[in-house]
Structure formats: C-alpha cells, structure tokens
Amino acid sequence: MALHTLNRAPADQSCVTRCLNALADNDALLLIEDGVYAALPGHQALFAALPDSVSLYVLQPDLQARGISEKVRDVFTPIDDAGFVQLACDQDKVVSWF
C-alpha cells in the first residue's frame, strides 16, 4: 500500500492522470498545495474510475489558503500536517507526483 501525494492543479492533466492511474487497491491519495483544486466538484469525473478501496485526503491548510475549504467534495477527508505524517506511517511508502 502506498500514499500518493499530488501537488499539481488539474490543468496539469498529464501529472494528475499519471497519479490517478498509479493508484492501486488500498492506496491513499493526498492532495496538497495546488493539487487541492482537484477536490472541487468540477473535477469529480477525474476520480470516477478509482477503486472504492482508495482513500482520498486533502491537506486542510492548503484548502484554507486558497479559500476553498467549504467548496470541496466530502469524499475527501481534510487532514492537517500531523495527519499527513500519520498517513505516511500507515502506508508502506510515499510516492510524490509533481
């Protein structure tokens, strides 16, 4: 099981697609930095093909900075920095997509 972090906004389709295609069963995805915009309702379709076993997270300070805390879909669990560390521990490895 791997934690994947994604820090690129949706217009970087190549990076976002690469990341999403790399997600295997029971992996976790954490959107960070500009990556958090993918949690907005307008990008729902990107995530349609993911296995149900993939868990979705988003870094709260990055949502807040960008003024979209109230706008993101609730399939994404907001976490803080401590939660990011915890996820990195819970999974076997961390893959950074940027």
């Binding site: 970087d12 300070p61 990055d62 807040q64 900075a65």
Partner: protein, 121 residues
C-alpha cells in the same frame, strides 16, 4: 515615462503553489503606479486566482485576494477570464471576485492583437 504602451498580462498558474501569481500581481501594480495601461487575462489554472477569501497564513504566505481587491485603486480594471477555462474547472463567473469579463478564444486573440506588450506568468 512618455510612451503609453498597452500591456497585457496573462496569468495561467494557480496561486500559492508557485510564486507566479504573486510575481504577476507585483508587475501589474507597478504598471499601475507608473501609469502604464495594463489588462489582466486569467486562463487555465490562473482562474483560481479569482476565487476570493484566501487565508494563507497557515502556509506562511501573504493573502493574494486582498491585493487583488486593491487593483481598482491602481486603475487596473480591465480584467478578463477565459470562459473555456472556467468551464473546464467547473466554475461560473459568479464564483469569482473582481468581476472579470468572460472571453472566448477569438476575443483572446483580439486582446493579444490590441496590446503592445504581452507578459506571461
């Protein structure tokens, strides 16, 4: 400064992840101070710069939305947003601060034509 070149600044990047949005805003404000006419076009991830109510303290940066709100005080009121980008991002102009004018591809070509200098960030 005598020559009144018209400057178009194109913003294609989301705020905060990279310094581009801030760098661009600083150039726009300086154009305003030196009374060089400047228009701003937001496209691709740049449209996210127009979402209001930022709170960037938690990531150690300054709020850009506050600075954006100050643009009219520098006589910067020509703001455009790519309607195709809005559609791709699932946004409406009503979601945006600064009330930009939505433009299509032809209008963007026209904007580039009408300005003397085009800067991209």
């Amino acid at each position: 400064m005598s020559a009144k070149k018209k400057v178009l600044i194109i913003n294609r990047r989301a705020p905060y992840g990279r310094s581009n949005a801030r760098d661009s805003l600083d150039v726009a404000l300086t154009c305003g101070v030196f009374e060089l006419p400047v228009s701003l076009l937001f496209a691709d991830d740049g449209v996210y710069q127009l979402l209001g109510e930022h709170d960037a303290q938690g990531i150690g940066q300054k709020n850009l939305s506050a600075t954006m709100a100050a643009l009219p005080m520098y006589d910067i009121d020509q703001l455009y947003v790519c309607e195709q980008s809005l559609k791709t991002q699932g946004l409406e102009t009503s979601d945006l601060a600064n009330a930009p004018t939505a433009v299509d591809q032809d209008a963007i070509q026209q904007l580039i034509k009408e300005h003397d200098v085009v800067l991209t960030f």
